[in-house]
């Protein structure tokens, strides 16, 4: 008997679908994109079956489109994510993310003695140092220390 296919959440008419997010990173992506503050509908799923990755997460943000520098920020936690833009239920653009060369405000510097942690209102600013294997570290513009991937903490 043919298995009945069901949509996990309904399709959006207009907006952006962020697919193939690692299952445990969905909430971080929501935060990075500031989706917890928007007034338009946002649907998300975690631990959804994925042929490619086993499980995955996704986000569907209705009536919302993102600037490339914003979507690239999510590459910090979800390098496998794909961004699908929808207009009138049709896919108009599909793209993958890539880690940007610089990151501002969204990540904390791991150094407790950095000016960004000691003073109020000094936004963090990092240069992204990438290696050939796709790993990266964030070089703090102020204290010049490197925050490694395992120490990433979002503001």
């Amino acid at each position: 008997m043919e298995k009945k296919k069901e949509l996990t959440v309904s399709a959006i008419e207009n907006g952006t679908v962020i697919d193939h997010i690692p299952a445990d990173k969905v909430f971080q992506v929501v935060k990075i994109l500031g989706l917890e503050k928007v007034k338009t509908p946002v649907y998300f799923g975690i631990n959804v079956e994925s042929k490619k990755y086993g499980t995955k997460g996704f986000i569907k943000a209705a009536n919302k489109y993102f600037e490339p520098e914003d979507v690239n920020k999510i590459a910090l936690v979800a390098p496998t994510a794909s961004i699908i833009e929808i207009k009138e239920f049709e896919v108009i653009r599909k793209q993958t993310v890539s880690i940007p060369d610089s990151i501002e405000r969204i990540v904390k510097c791991f150094n407790p003695n950095c000016v960004t942690n000691k003073e109020h209102d000094v936004p963090t600013k990092f240069k992204v140092i990438k290696d050939a294997e796709g790993n990266f570290k964030l070089h703090c513009h102020y204290c010049e220390k490197n925050t490694t991937q395992d120490k990433l903490e979002f503001i």
């Binding site: 150094n111 003695n113 950095c114 000016v115 000691k118 003073e119 513009h141 102020y142 010049e144």
Partner: protein, 306 residues
């Protein structure tokens, strides 16, 4: 093309190109010959020391006075608005409206870079925690060039705390521009951090790691001793284990090269025995004196007076 450092803050030694560094050293040489030059002519320099300092603060203030300038500022935060909770941004904005240049030491890492972004006048970093101390680096380079006649192709032995010692990190970074060869002498716990070592590797320069100081002495042009700094150790037990790792004694210099000189950013505790002081190869006190000329050169260049 002529070099101009007018209005250029100095936060990290890498802010200046090798040409710009050499330009500052040339000016410092001129100040050594003729230290009293009334170039500032009453201009006001703010000296903001958020933590205690002896040499750096005194040599800056000496440099300013030799240049005919006036100093305002503080040597600790006691009694200032900072203790009332004023932000660094507000303090700097206010002081920048009083002074032509700000010299700042602050224990918070990155504070100097931030201050230079807030301030409308240039900022010289006189040390921001364990991060950078570029004017020390400038006087170290001046001392090396003066004693060796060049900065090129020298063999530099760095001894002691190579992990936390900010002067070592800046010196390595700067000397990488001049084809140096490095001998790194430290206890295992205090090895040069990989991020600093990467500068050496990026330039394909030669370096060797030693645990015994005697092995590196005979071929060194410069022996740069450092104090193992108690205040940089999160764990006091770790400090106790390594505090007396290296002590340079006069007899150990017997096989050193004739041009070899011993440098130390000071203060020393016991890592250079006093019996070295009388050896003509001991250069650390002249090195501290050179700090005045290097700082005169920086102030004059940044204010566009040289």
């Amino acid at each position: 093309m002529s070099v101009s450092l007018k209005n250029r803050s100095l936060i990290s030694i890498s802010d200046y190109t090798p040409e710009e560094i050499c330009h500052v050293l040339d000016i410092a040489e001129d100040f050594e010959k003729n230290p009293h030059q009334n170039l500032l002519n009453g201009r006001i320099i703010a000296s903001l020391f958020f933590e205690p300092s002896t040499r750096t603060r005194l040599s800056f203030e000496t440099a300013i006075q030799l240049l005919g300038g006036n100093v305002i500022g503080f040597s600790s935060t006691a009694g200032t608005s900072i203790q009332k909770g004023e932000s660094l941004a507000d303090t700097i904005t206010m002081v920048a409206s009083y002074a032509d240049l700000i010299v700042m030491r602050n224990p918070i890492e990155g504070s100097a870079r931030f201050a230079s972004e807030v301030s409308k006048v240039p900022v010289i970093n006189a040390g921001d925690g364990a991060n950078q101390h570029p004017t020390q680096c400038m006087l170290d380079l001046y001392s090396i060039r003066k004693t060796q006649g060049t900065l090129e192709n020298l063999e530099i032995t760095l001894v002691g705390d190579l992990k936390y010692g900010r002067t070592v990190h800046s010196l390595v970074e700067a000397m990488c521009n001049f084809n140096a060869k490095f001998n790194l002498v430290s206890p295992v716990e205090l090895k040069l951090p990989s991020v600093v070592k990467q500068h050496i590797k990026d330039r394909n320069l030669e370096y060797h790691q030693y645990t015994e100081l005697e092995d590196a002495i005979p071929h060194s042009d410069i022996i740069y001793m450092t104090r193992i700094q108690r205040e940089r150790f999160p764990d006091p037990e770790e400090y106790e284990k390594v505090k007396n790792s290296y002590v340079l004694r006069n007899a150990m210099l017997a096989n050193s090269k004739p041009n070899c000189r011993v440098l130390h950013p000071l203060p020393r505790v016991n890592e250079i025995h006093v019996d070295v002081d009388a050896n003509p190869k001991a250069y650390y006190f002249q090195q501290a004196q050179n700090g005045v000329y290097a700082r005169q050169a920086l102030i004059a260049s940044i204010l566009g007076l040289k």
